[in-house]
Symmetry: none
Subunit: 207 residues, 4 copies
DNA sequence: CATGAATGAGATTTCATTCAT
DNA sequence: GATGAATGAAATCTCATTCAT
C-alpha cells in the first residue's frame, strides 16, 4: 500500500496525507536507529513528527507496520539504485571509485541499515538484510549464472561476509569507530578503501 | 559462563544464590539475543528462569545491571581466553587452525555477541564491541607497539572491519545464513575459512 | 426497515442520501446485535456500509443518534403493524395463527429486538422495551380501560413476563437455543406455539 | 485457577491477594451490570475497587478473564445451590414457596444474571445462560430420564421459555418494571407468583 | 452528499520496580 | 534468599468526533 501511494504521487498533486506519512517514517527511522525498534516509542515518534499519536495509527496499522514500510522502501530504493548502477557500469572508471560511490549512497541510508542489522540479529523471519546483500553485491555477476554449487557457495560467502558486511559495517560504525579510535572520518574512508580493495576486491573468485 | 562462576567459587562458601543468579543470567542472555534488550521483559526472564520477579531484583540492581553483568562476564572470558591462547601461540600449528579454534570458542558466546552487536548499533556509550574487537584481534601484535599513526590506523581498520567483524558476523549469522542460502553448517565453516584466509589473513600488514 | 423508508419516500423527492442513511442503519443494526452497542465501532459500521466514517456524521449527530433512530423506527413499525392487525382482528382465524403471524413479523425485527433487550438491561433511562411490550401485547384490550388497579397490575405482569418476554425471547434466542439443544427451527416454532398457548394464552385474565 | 484459589482459602488463612481479587470481581460485576461489559472500563473498576489498574492485570490475564471468572463463579454457585435444594426437596412445603425462595436466591445474583443475559444476546459462543437454565430448571425432574425426543423437546422449551426466562427476567427487570408501571416491589412479587403459578407451574408436562 | 486526514481523550495492556513477609 | 502482591508510569492502540475540501 505504501508503495502504491508513493508511485501514484509521482505525477499527482501530492496530498497532505503523504507528507505526514513520510514525516512519520523519517522520524521513526531516526529513532529506531538511535534506540532500536523496541526502545523507541510511538509516543516519541508522534511528538517529534509533530502529529497526534492517533495520526500514526491512521497511516499505519500498528508499530510493526512502520518498520515494515521502512524496510519495504529501502528494498525498493536499493533495487532502483542497483538498476541505475548496472546501466552506467561499463562506462565508468575504477572499481575503487565505484565502491566509493556505493559507500556514499549507503551513507544516505545508514540509519535504516543500522535498524536492519539490529533486527536481523533477532530471532525473527525478517530477511531484509539478505535481500539487501544480494541486491547490492551480486550486481557484478548474475549469481544465478554460476552453475556449480561449490563455486556459488564460495562466491556468496565471499560476497556476504567479506564484501557486504564490512561495507555496511563501515557505513554504520564509521562515526563510532572514529570517535573510539580517534581518527578523522575522511581518513577513515580512504584507509577503509585501501583495506577493502586489498582484502575483498583483489580476491574476487570471478575475475 | 555459568560454569566459570561456579569454578571461581570453588574456594568460597558457595551459596545457592549463585546458582539462581547464573540461571537468571543464562536466561537473560538467551532472551536478549532472541528479542533484543528492550524486547525481552524482566517478567519473561523470571518466568523462564523459574524464579520470582522480585528475586531478579535481589540479585541485580535493575534491568541494566543484568546486561552490564553479562557484558562484564564476556569481557573477562574473552580476556582470559586470549591470555591462554597467547601462551600456546608459538607451539601450535597453522594460522587456519588457530582461526578455527577461535570460531569454535566464539560459537559458545554467540548469544551474548549478538546482544553486543545489537546494543553497539544504538546511539549509546557502550564500547563492549570495540573492547572485544581489540582483545580478540590484537593478540598477534601488541597494537600499542606500532608507533606510526598511519600504520596503526590502517592496522586497526584492517583488523576491525575485515577481521573481527566478518569473524563474529560469521558466528552470529551462520545459522540464518545457512538457512537462507540453503547450505550445510559444516560446509559453511570450511568455505568461510577459505575465504577468510584469502581476504584477511593473507593481507596482514604486519606479517 | 430500509424498504419501509423507501416506500414512505415514494411521494417525496427521494434523495440518494436516504439510500446511504438506510445502509448505515442496516449495518449498524446488524453490528449492534452481534456485538452490542458499545462493542460495535463507528469505524466498523462505516467499513461494512462502504461509506466514509465522516459520512456517518453527516447523516447522524453522533453514535447515540444511530441507535435512537433505530429505536424510533422500530417503534413506528411496531405501531403501524399493530394498527394493521387491529383491523383484521375480527375477520381472521385462531389465536394460535395470530401468534404465529406475530412471531413471523417479529422475526424480521429480531436483530433490533436483541439490541433493545441488551440496552434495556443496563442502568439507563431507555424505555423502548416497555413501549414495545405495551404496543405488542395490549392490542387485545385497551389497557387503560381496566379501571381496577389490582386487575390492571396482574394484567400487565401477565402480559409482560409470561406473554411478551417469552415471545420475543423465542424470536431472539431461537437460533442459539436450537443449536444448543440440537433441535430443528421449525420443530421449535411448533413446540413453542403449543407451550405458549397452554401457558400464556389459556390463562388470559380477560377472556 | 480462580476456583482453586477460592477452594484452598476455605480452610487456609486467606491471603490479602484473594481479598483484592474478590473486591475487583465484585466491582466488575456491579459495573458490567450497569453499563455492559464493553461499556465498563478497567480504569473505572480499578478506581472503585481502590486498587491500581496494574493490580487488575496481576490478578486477571485480561478484561475477558474478569467476566469469565464471574461466569465461572456464578455457575458454581448455582450448581451448589441446586444440590442443596435437591436435598431439602421432599420435606418442604408448597411449590409456590419454593419458587419464592428461588427468586430470593436469584435476587442475590441479579447483577451477574443481567450480565449473562446481555452477553448471551451477542453473537458469541458463551453458553452460561443455557447452563444456568438447565441447572436451575431441571432440578424437578432429571431431564435425561425423559426418553422420548418429542417430550423432551417440549419439556425443555417449556422450562426455558415459560419457566426460566420469566423467572430471571422478573428478577433482573423487577425494579425497572415497578418504576415504569408504578407498582410496589412487594406487590410485584406476589402478583408475579400468582401469574407464574397459573402459567408455568400448572401446565408442567410432567406432574 | 461525501471523503481523507487528523485529533483529544481514553481504552487496554505491559513495564520495570518495590516492599512486607 | 526468595516471594506474592502491588504499583506508577508508560506502552500500544482505539474511540467517537471534526473539519477543510
Amino acid at each position: 500500500m505504501s508503495t502504491e501511494r508513493l508511485v501514484k504521487c509521482d505525477f499527482m498533486p501530492r496530498k497532505d496525507g503523504d507528507v505526514t506519512r513520510n514525516r512519520i517514517l523519517q522520524i521513526a527511522e531516526k529513532l529506531f536507529s538511535e534506540k532500536g525498534y523496541d526502545g523507541a516509542g510511538v509516543n516519541e515518534i508522534a511528538l517529534l513528527a509533530g502529529v497526534n499519536k492517533a495520526t500514526i495509527y491512521y497511516h499505519f496499522k500498528d508499530k510493526q507496520d512502520i518498520i515494515v514500510s521502512l524496510f519495504h522502501n529501502i528494498m525498493e530504493e536499493v533495487d532502483a539504485h542497483q538498476q541505475l548502477q548496472a546501466d552506467k557500469q561499463k562506462a565508468e572508471g575504477s572499481i575503487r571509485s565505484k565502491i566509493k560511490n556505493e559507500i556514499l549512497f549507503l551513507e544516505t541510508k545508514k540509519k535504516i541499515l543500522a535498524v536492519i542489522l539490529m533486527e536481523s540479529l533477532k530471532d525473527n523471519k525478517d530477511d531484509t538484510l539478505f535481500f539487501c546483500a544480494k541486491t547490492i553485491m551480486y550486481q557484478e555477476i548474475g549469481n544465478s549464472e554460476i552453475k556449480d554449487k561449490k563455486v556459488r557457495e564460495a562466491f556468496s560467502m565471499h560476497e556476504f561476509f567479506t564484501g557486504f558486511l564490512p561495507l555496511i559495517s563501515f557505513v554504520v560504525y564509521r562515526e563510532k569507530w572514529c570517535r573510539y579510535f580517534n581518527c578523522s572520518e575522511t581518513t577513515a574512508l580512504n584507509v577503509f578503501l585501501d583495506v577493502f580493495e586489498k582484502t575483498h576486491l583483489n580476491t574476487h573468485i570471478i575475475k
